[in-house]
Symmetry: D3
Subunit: 239 residues, 6 copies
Amino acid sequence: MIGQSGIAIRSITRADPTALAQLAQFGVATVHEAMGRSGLLASYMRPIYPGAKVCGTAVTIFAHPGDNWMLHVAAELLQPGDVAILGTSAENTDGMFGELLATSFRARGARGLIIDAGCRDTAELHAMKFPVWSKAVHSKGTVKATVGSVNTPIVCAGALVNPGDVVIGDDDGVVIVPKLRAAAVAAAAAAREAKEMATRKRLAAGELGLDLYGMREPLAKAGLKYFSDETALQQEPRK
Amino acid sequence: MIGQSGIAIRSITRADPTALAQLAQFGVATVHEAMGRSGLLASYMRPIYPGAKVCGTAVTIFAHPGDNWMLHVAAELLQPGDVAILGTSAENTDGMFGELLATSFRARGARGLIIDAGCRDTAELHAMKFPVWSKAVHSKGTVKATVGSVNTPIVCAGALVNPGDVVIGDDDGVVIVPKLRAAAVAAAAAAREAKEMATRKRLAAGELGLDLYGMREPLAKAGLKYFSDETALQQEPRK
Amino acid sequence: MIGQSGIAIRSITRADPTALAQLAQFGVATVHEAMGRSGLLASYMRPIYPGAKVCGTAVTIFAHPGDNWMLHVAAELLQPGDVAILGTSAENTDGMFGELLATSFRARGARGLIIDAGCRDTAELHAMKFPVWSKAVHSKGTVKATVGSVNTPIVCAGALVNPGDVVIGDDDGVVIVPKLRAAAVAAAAAAREAKEMATRKRLAAGELGLDLYGMREPLAKAGLKYFSDETALQQEPRK
Amino acid sequence: MIGQSGIAIRSITRADPTALAQLAQFGVATVHEAMGRSGLLASYMRPIYPGAKVCGTAVTIFAHPGDNWMLHVAAELLQPGDVAILGTSAENTDGMFGELLATSFRARGARGLIIDAGCRDTAELHAMKFPVWSKAVHSKGTVKATVGSVNTPIVCAGALVNPGDVVIGDDDGVVIVPKLRAAAVAAAAAAREAKEMATRKRLAAGELGLDLYGMREPLAKAGLKYFSDETALQQEPRK
Amino acid sequence: MIGQSGIAIRSITRADPTALAQLAQFGVATVHEAMGRSGLLASYMRPIYPGAKVCGTAVTIFAHPGDNWMLHVAAELLQPGDVAILGTSAENTDGMFGELLATSFRARGARGLIIDAGCRDTAELHAMKFPVWSKAVHSKGTVKATVGSVNTPIVCAGALVNPGDVVIGDDDGVVIVPKLRAAAVAAAAAAREAKEMATRKRLAAGELGLDLYGMREPLAKAGLKYFSDETALQQEPRK
Amino acid sequence: MIGQSGIAIRSITRADPTALAQLAQFGVATVHEAMGRSGLLASYMRPIYPGAKVCGTAVTIFAHPGDNWMLHVAAELLQPGDVAILGTSAENTDGMFGELLATSFRARGARGLIIDAGCRDTAELHAMKFPVWSKAVHSKGTVKATVGSVNTPIVCAGALVNPGDVVIGDDDGVVIVPKLRAAAVAAAAAAREAKEMATRKRLAAGELGLDLYGMREPLAKAGLKYFSDETALQQEPRK
């Protein structure tokens, strides 16, 4: 159904609100690790201003290059707490989204936008504190000529997103948590953070990761050899 | 005459100052739309600091890769209110411009620089509030060996620029307004902004673009179908 | 020896501390020019926050894509005043470094990191004021499976770095000063800055680089011709 | 389940063999159009030699950057007529696949490989006529350290691929046909080709698309104006 | 007038046919040098098959991303010996052109296409020997929704093209010769080739460019020093 | 000494001729593996025609962007069996090398060129069978204004190259073998090829890498689980 045009789903199953609230406390890197190192969008997706942060429910948009019609369709289907997320049928950097649409999205209760295309009016969006992660900042205007879909599964910046999934964005990028895994991932993220708290204290005190994580033996087994000084480099090269 | 080297034009026809002052009030996206969605530089042209803004008259520079000689030639020909804009004969990211040239440009009354190459001393330029849009930030120094031209038509980041055109830059990028169209574009931009003011108010109140712009019927005609819930996605796929 | 895995050198020869302290006063562009326009890393290496600045001694790390094991090995070998600098055996943008490793590095006295790969936890690193220059910001986690080397010569973003070299980073990028040249380069940079101080004053007063640098005659010799106005462009094109 | 590691599915549902055989007769562009302009991989996926062509059933592989372990796991699960298709958990161009693996794949009956990473031994693969579409050609070797999955849904070069889908590749790139749509798409592609045959004949005879497709009226409505000659360009610019 | 939509010019001034025939004998590099190193399109414009070669008169097309409507408008205005050349209003890689349009273009007498976007049906175009230079090969289909222009000045891959200019393409890329300069450039190219013929013979006989071009003295003046062997590299570094 | 301009070394130490002759028998991927997965140039370095192959001794060239003067200096220092290899002081794609220089290089006995910049006259070079690996094909001409160096250590496409090292190029890219390691690497490559010969035979017979390399147990330990069919994917997701 991915990539099919002409479909708008009015009512979607959303992730558990408690799990969503818990996930909102963690950063993208932590959640990604808690999911077994999965769920990330590509690194070209960047926030339009530093410090942008969002956590909410995915309302998915499938659009065609240079055409922002479906963002207007999505506006009606957004509910408070939602994050709009847009994938395209071909690579595009046109400025599909700006301050007028953000005004409309905010009025509907949306928390932000993830767009695998361009964004414009970035100064105004920053002033409004409406967070957007995009592939490009570009003023190029768009047409309203071809229909796509809303609330069907999409691929956005290399990640599969189903409507109702949890979307988390911060300065490090964007991660998607499948709605069925939200509670489990929130628990794993909490456990990870608790463990890191202790680790952080020991590292700050000067303890080495080599000892803390027990790396010395595996490193030696994997072939790491220590030399006292650079004269080692002048020796006969090893294969 | 594009791409010819060895020419420096002392006196150029500039855009109407009233039109230029009017255009200075609008953002890049608005002006681009008011021109019928034309005039933009490529999206890789980015301000060296957030909040940079410029509007002025183009003094055009044609330079060769790794050679910033013509920026010195341009300095003499810059007048108060001008914006220097540089295109190259081949792709280049060397740091052709820095704080010393900015000091000179400012002393001549220039308002900023658009450079389809690299820029350096960005911290100092930010401190001076001398706005620059560039393709890259790079410290690579340049030579003074090959002449280009000043005040001939150039291509900069995919856009044609004639000397005397209006150059507008902000966080969303850069747009060029041909000097003969400056007054008409300023009027169109003002009309657009007035109209958007009303639209913004209605969108902020929760009204939908779908209704405001009368999109429901054209969307249905173009094939958009609404489904109450996700069970639609489990049905037999439509072609 | 470049590109050999399995080597960790404990003790390296460092640049002269006086020269290093002198070099810390200059920007990347100035030092690069003082070295005869050499030593720069590629322009894709960007600071993770504006205003980042570092000057210190290179502890070099050679790592494999998607594997941050050697950063832990490096932590033990870092001394106060060092800057870790990492090259990889193949292009990679995974987030090899984050806030926990920065905590460890800081506890060892390290001043920052240059990494030809990805970085994550950028908001936390900014809050800690731990400066990092990286190729990408990405949350992608890494494994600890393959050994590389520490304190062997590396290539980082197109530049050769020997352990003990001086590493300088600022908003304009990163430059490497070979340790044996540190004092000479510091002297040359100081001379350049002194000269530029005088130049800056004259340019700010409106004097032209054309006159200050004696460019008018060489420009004429190189074929630059001045025309009073744009009618020159309508004439028969010159070859 | 996308992005989960540690899963290998032995038996998958494949597309209908008749539909698959029909689809093998059409090019990528035709099939993509017949699917309503969907299903394409990104344009960076290129065949390693001109004239490469494949059509078969997807055996999907999810791998980590710089690690080709799962290609060996996949080899066992490939059946005659299958095409292996690999997505990664982060951007990577390492040479995960070469002539030895191709020998193994061919022995299992596989028809080719689509890999969102690098490929090597391209001269040997060309000589063997084993078709591969890849993101890069690079000799960089890989490790066998982290498990991914085989026959779970993957994202490859921006497209969702389910095990058992139809994969078609030619000089124009790669398209994925969901297995449930295979018969319908084959029929639509056949209809499209039949129609194009007639169109081609008329165009070859000099008839214009403008007339054949009835475009003159819509173009005029959309604002296209004809002018007899270039003097139109000297007139007052229109908004 | 660049970037204005809605204009189609029926009759354009073409370059002198004799000059065009002469220019057809030279390669892109030679013509570019004969124009004083100008006129090149960006290096990302590549022929879709090796050995492609074209020389003809530019019929210019201005199109919007993902919309190939204007190629049909252009078909009617193409005359025998013309080369269609297309620029876009924003970056785009969609497959705007394929075998059906090529059939139509050939029926009108067109010699080839230069397109700052994508091309598809490349195997068929190769079989037809219809030469195309494009930014990408991609199957992505396009719509016919927004009008652009035909035979107005355009920017294509960084170069300004006026209708009627000479377009030359080969394995090295594409160069544009302004129609008024065609005869002068053809003469300069012929002179250059004659001179290179003699040079080639002397170089083939083992004579050095250093002597042939009298470079030894300027090199010494510019600071080149010869050393008998590598011990020079161990000496105290020079500033 | 890397990056220093103004040095030309007449006589360099070359790799052992026997080792060089042995290395000429192996492909780039094999040699790279035999060196412990090191020595590769970046994947953007591509042969200008398929089937290009070279093995020879590095004569290194350090050049500035847009300036090919040092290629003429290198011509004199090339000896039969040498391969010229050029690194630049900043990113550049200008066409620094063409058919005339190739004629001169061939007359001196050079076997090919590796250039981290652009190349032109590619059709002529193909016809001459003069192999070149480059970053770009571009006709852009260059100047002769700034001296670089010949036969000093350089960085080319991310790899360190010392004069006299062995350079091997084929369809898979380029690898550098340090001259002191040439014999050892040749031996390791031969051993690798012998071992692969046996492996190839067994894989061709349908034996699996899983068994041949004993991967089943390590895969299970690393967490890989087999499921009989896709119903596994509908189960409760595992962390």
